[in-house]
């Protein structure tokens, strides 16, 4: 990808059609899987499975449809910054809520 970025005499990098077809096929299959998994009783794993599939689908969109895979390292930083911030938001918010002794949060959910 960086080799392409340095060499900008050839015009835009055109991603082969088979990549787009593979990504769209994966997205449809993963949607079907996530719906099916939603009806299965996986105990505490239902939410993590649904989120893992969603994160995988989002990664496919970001890397291939949004061309981040083929972009410069600078663009990786810009694209990654927002998602990294999201991790901070969730980690710090939830460590606060689930660790509050005076609230009933967290415990019922974790047992569920």
């Amino acid at each position: 990808m960086s080799a392409h970025a340095k060499d900008h005499g050839d015009g835009p990098h055109i991603v082969p059609m088979r990549v787009y077809f593979s990504v769209i096929a994966c997205l449809f299959v993963l949607t079907a899987i996530t719906v099916a998994a939603g009806f299965l009783s996986l105990g505490a794993m239902n939410t993590p499975v649904a989120l893992a599939i969603a994160i995988f689908k989002a990664s496919l969109v970001v890397l291939f449809f949004m061309h981040v895979k083929y972009n410069t390292p600078l663009m990786w930083v810009f694209a990654g910054a927002g998602f990294f911030w999201l991790i901070i938001l969730f980690a710090l918010t939830m460590q606060d809520y689930v660790s509050r002794g005076w609230d009933d949060m967290g415990v019922p959910f974790l047992i569920q």
């Binding site: 787009y20 009783s41 694209a79 927002g82």
Partner: protein, 218 residues
């Protein structure tokens, strides 16, 4: 691209079209980071209240029609593909094809909004719209109201983004017709694509979190 310096779309403060394109892409990602923060706040709020009112969120989730939600997921994924095709055609300078892929994207976007409006009208009919006609006779009336508030704010902000996206396409389509975009200059098409893909990603998370989670518990 040595002839770039004379491209009509080149702004005077850039050296060449490549530098201009890279700056445009970077700026778009900075905008999308802001969008992640905007939707991130909504998702964080949803998470906190889901932990707190777990049972109400399960009950609420099961009141959402999974077939409409699933259909909309498929429509939106397909529209991400059509917009990716539009960008690819712009990179190759296929003006007619960019226009047609935009048209397909617009049709899919409108189909999504059509399904969404059917769902909203059912919610109106069932008196489940907080602030408008919310009535819940069973237990957990307060937490149920919170769930549907999150549902309407999150899907509503998402739908607003789609309406803006359709507006952007209407704005871009005459320019596509006029042949303004090609391999040297396609930043507006690519940045629109980034915007549309982002809106798709938001839905990729909204669908399981609103429609699916708790489905196995009912």
């Amino acid at each position: 691209m040595s002839s770039d310096a004379s491209h009509p779309a080149l702004r005077h403060y850039y050296d060449d079209m490549h530098q201009q394109h890279e700056s445009a892409t970077m700026g778009m990602w900075a905008f999308l980071a802001q969008e992640i923060m905007f939707f991130g706040g909504l998702f964080a709020g949803y998470t906190v209240y889901r932990f707190k009112y777990f049972n109400a969120f399960v009950t609420g989730s099961n009141l959402l029609p999974i077939e409409w939600g699933g259909l909309n997921t498929a429509i939106l994924i397909a529209s991400s593909f059509t917009v990716a095709m539009a960008v690819r055609c712009a990179q190759q300078g296929l003006h007619k094809a960019i226009f047609n892929w935009f048209l397909a994207t617009m049709v899919l976007g409108l189909a999504f909004l059509g399904v969404k409006s059917i769902e909203y009208s059912h919610k109106y009919h069932d008196h489940l719209i907080p602030g408008l006609n919310f009535t819940w006779d069973g237990p957990m009336a307060g937490p149920m109201k919170i769930f549907f508030s999150f549902y309407f704010v999150m899907t509503g902000m998402h739908a607003l983004h789609m309406i803006i996206g359709i507006g952007l396409m209407i704005w871009l389509m005459p320019k596509i017709r006029a042949g303004k975009f090609g391999p040297e200059y396609y930043s507006p098409i690519e940045n629109f694509g980034l915007y549309w893909h982002f809106v798709d990603i938001v839905w990729i998370f909204l669908f399981p979190l609103l429609y699916l989670i708790g489905r196995h518990l009912q």
